[in-house]
């Protein structure tokens, strides 16, 4: 440490740009922990954190772009499971449909019978926040249909859905056309 004696004031520009940037009076070894093996993770942590935050933001912004903002503030408390027999088409896991609508997960939507939904609104009365569940489902059904027409959804999923009877009469033509 050549500049130990002549301590520059804070904020003053240094003449020698080759010197490592350290504060006056502080030895270089104190900058680093003794865990040398952690050194390589600094940038990894930053990248990981950026990934996490980006994922969170994408989960928030995606529904907004798809005109489905109400899905964002689903508690996922699954109070809608109480619908049970009062769902006329026998969907049991409504909250899964909401999550699928939020992140545009076609597979999950179809698997849980989203294409059967007739938007009767019975589940809405069980929601602790009275979210507009039928509207969410209708938007997601449109998205799914569009994706189906564009051929984004793998045909295996559609075939399985057809064989298990997970497609309602509104969409059965589209699904059959896509599979064939």
């Amino acid at each position: 440490m050549s500049d130990k004696k002549e301590t520059p004031k804070i904020g003053e520009k240094r003449k020698d740009s080759n010197q490592p940037l350290i504060l006056p009076g502080i030895h270089r070894y104190q900058f680093f922990t003794n865990l040398k093996d952690r050194g390589w993770t600094i940038n990894l942590d930053r990248v990981a954190l950026f990934g996490i935050v980006a994922a969170m933001l994408s989960v928030v912004i995606k529904p907004l772009l798809r005109w489905n903002p109400a899905t964002i503030y689903c508690y996922e408390c699954r109070a809608c499971y109480a619908t049970q027999d009062r769902c006329p088409v026998g969907i049991t896991l409504q909250a899964e449909l909401v999550v699928a609508a939020r992140v545009l997960d076609y597979d999950r939507f179809i698997r849980n019978g989203g294409l059967k939904c007739i938007r009767c609104g019975n589940c809405q009365s069980y929601c602790v926040q009275y979210l507009p569940l039928p509207e969410m489902f209708s938007v997601m059904q449109q998205e799914t249909r569009r994706a189906m027409v564009n051929g984004v959804i793998p045909k295996d999923i559609l075939r399985r859905a057809l064989s298990q009877g997970l497609v309602g009469k509104e969409y059965i033509d589209d699904v059959a056309k896509t599979v064939a």
Partner: protein, 567 residues
């Protein structure tokens, strides 16, 4: 395709365990993101082989579905509110209130007891919100903090008990608490369950668990790790003369902020203005604070504790990746095959399952809860039919209380670390107390409460109300009494700094675990000798896993973990 789930589960567990034991030294969110990426890569290879490129392209959507937005945003907005309260001097106002309480007939002890139970009373979505703000206040009671009212041992007990209460408080919270996940699942049968079927058992067992943690810290932790708290005792000369208490004055904005805080909390909990998400209420409260109490936006930002938020989001990502690649299906099958083992059976499997999160403590309970509660749900009438709905509710209560308190003992940035930092202890100091309390007191207590009181309330035809209250009181005394006896007897066996202390503690864990397993089995299956024996075996196994994960000698282990072999 069948092996995919097992491979990914293996990757996840291996990464998590090696982080827990300190072989991988990175922050927990990085590890979780790495495990997400690994799982996705493995999953993508399998999916490409099975379904082709389209299925692979849809995978990002699938694993993003794992993120549960509500708890994250509720936590964030709660932190905003706490940040605003801190910046505007609201906690000074609270100090004045506490001083007032101390001079009332309740006295110092009563005030401390209320303070310890404050997190559950105010039920915020994450315990850290209050802990971050109140721990410095608790610290001032000690010699180093300035007031010098309490001694070192008392301060350790106080801070440990407070942190336990705070870290459990996210379970019974009605505004985005962990318990809501399970309540929703129970809603399939108990139509009004989402109004709080799990809240009462948790609050109940937390109160008792807090007391036992205090006892454990006093009797055992301080003896087994005698040199791991660097708090200082007041010198005798100083202790003799009482400190003159400095007069605390709070700014008027502080009182205003406190009022806004309480009002927005009550609005969020009781929703008098029509149904409204918690976040909106809390953000409105925070913004109101910005305007009324003249604080800056930076103060709101300063209130954010980044780790729980990012760890939770990263955990959800990891859980989402596991779910998208059948990892949890594999876990369900493993647990299912445990049922076939002769001496475990359903009761033993449940006793292990209930303690699962105490065995594998992550920095936020929600990471695993969101993934494991659906597995538990499948044990009920929905799929495997091991349990009927009432039994499922009992197991759910026991599971959730253990899950929510699991961020206390976590060495990966769990909330308990805040308490350890405040009492200047080594990381892991309070792990033993926390895991013992959540295993031996809270889980059986919650199960008993659920069985005898809550179920009869939610099915009001049951007439045995008063009798059940007596039953609960008897069980509370029994469970607490047995465990307290265990603690006291164990502490009598200790010699100072003897290596046997650790084995005595593990023996206590095993005993406590098997008792708790038996009680759990009794709560679920009533009097059935085979089932109770199976439950005891399951509890024994879980307790062995928990007990051997409690650090043996703290300083040596932590030193080697923290500073590498070179130092």
């Amino acid at each position: 395709m069948e092996y995919l789930g097992y491979i990914n589960l293996g990757i996840f567990l291996a990464l998590m365990l090696s982080t827990l034991f300190g072989y991988i030294r990175t922050p927990v969110q990085t590890v979780l993101v790495i495990s997400t990426i690994l799982c996705l890569i493995v999953g993508a290879i399998f999916k490409y082989a099975a379904y082709g490129i389209d299925a692979v392209l849809l995978m990002p959507n699938e694993f993003l579905g794992g993120i549960i937005l509500h708890p994250i945003t509720a936590l964030l907005t709660g932190l905003f509110l706490a940040g605003g309260l801190k910046a505007s001097g609201g906690f000074d106002a609270l100090k004045v209130l506490l001083r007032f309480l101390r001079r009332s007939p309740i006295g110092l002890v009563g005030t401390l007891v209320i303070l310890i139970n404050l997190p559950v009373i105010s039920s915020l979505p994450c315990g850290r919100i209050l802990a971050a703000a109140l721990l410095p206040l608790l610290f001032t009671f000690g010699f180093e903090g300035g007031l010098g009212i309490l001694t070192k041992s008392q301060l350790i007990v106080l801070i440990g008990a407070f942190t336990r209460n705070a870290m459990g408080s996210c379970g019974p919270s009605p505004i985005g608490g962990v318990g809501q996940i399970a309540e929703g699942f129970l809603g399939s049968f108990f139509a009004t369950a989402s109004d709080g079927i799990l809240r009462a058992p948790q609050a109940f067992s937390l109160m008792l668990g807090t007391a036992v943690v205090a006892l454990f810290l006093k009797l055992i932790s301080q003896k087994i790790y005698p040199n791991d708290v660097s708090l200082r005792e007041a010198p005798d000369a100083m202790a003799a003369q009482k400190f003159a208490e400095p007069e605390i004055k709070a700014p008027i904005e502080g009182y205003l902020a406190l009022v806004i805080f309480v009002i927005s909390l009550l609005t969020a909990i009781f929703q008098p203005l029509g149904k409204m998400p918690v976040q909106s209420v809390l953000v409105a409260g925070a913004l109101l604070m910005v305007i009324v109490c003249r604080i800056r936006l930076n103060d709101l930002l300063e209130g954010i504790i980044l780790l729980p938020v990012t760890a939770m989001a990263a955990g959800f990502l990891a859980a989402g990746a596991l779910a998208a690649t059948d990892g949890f299906k594999a876990l369900g099958q493993i647990l299912n095959s445990l049922v076939g083992v002769q001496f475990l059976g359903v009761a033993g499997m449940l006793a292990i399952f209930v303690q699962f999160q105490t065995i594998l403590p992550l920095s936020c309970a929600r990471i695993l809860t969101a993934a494991l509660v659906p597995v538990l749900y499948l044990f009920g009438p929905a799929q495997f039919d091991f349990l009927n709905w009432s039994q499922l509710a009992i197991v759910m209560a026991a599971y959730i209380i253990n899950a929510t308190t699991s961020c206390g003992p976590s060495p990966l940035g769990g909330g308990g670390m805040m308490g350890e930092g405040t009492m200047r202890a080594e990381t892991g100091f309070i792990k033993g107390a926390y895991t013992f309390a959540s295993m031996a007191i809270m889980a059986p207590m919650a199960a008993i409460f659920m069985k005898f009181l809550n179920l009869s309330i939610f099915q009001p035809s049951d007439p045995r109300f008063l009798q059940d209250i007596k039953m609960i009181a008897a069980f509370a005394i029994l469970i607490a009494g047995v465990n307290i006896l265990l603690l006291v007897a164990g502490s009598k066996l200790f010699n100072k700094e003897s290596p046997n202390n650790y084995y005595i503690q593990v023996f206590g864990f095993l005993l406590g675990g098997s008792i708790s397993g038996a009680i759990l089995a009794f709560a679920v299956f009533e009097i059935d000798a085979v089932k109770i024996a199976q439950g005891a075996v399951g509890g024994f196994i879980a307790a062995a896993l928990i007990g051997f994960m409690v650090p043996r000698s703290l300083s040596k282990r932590m030193t080697s973990t923290l500073s590498g072999p070179e130092l």
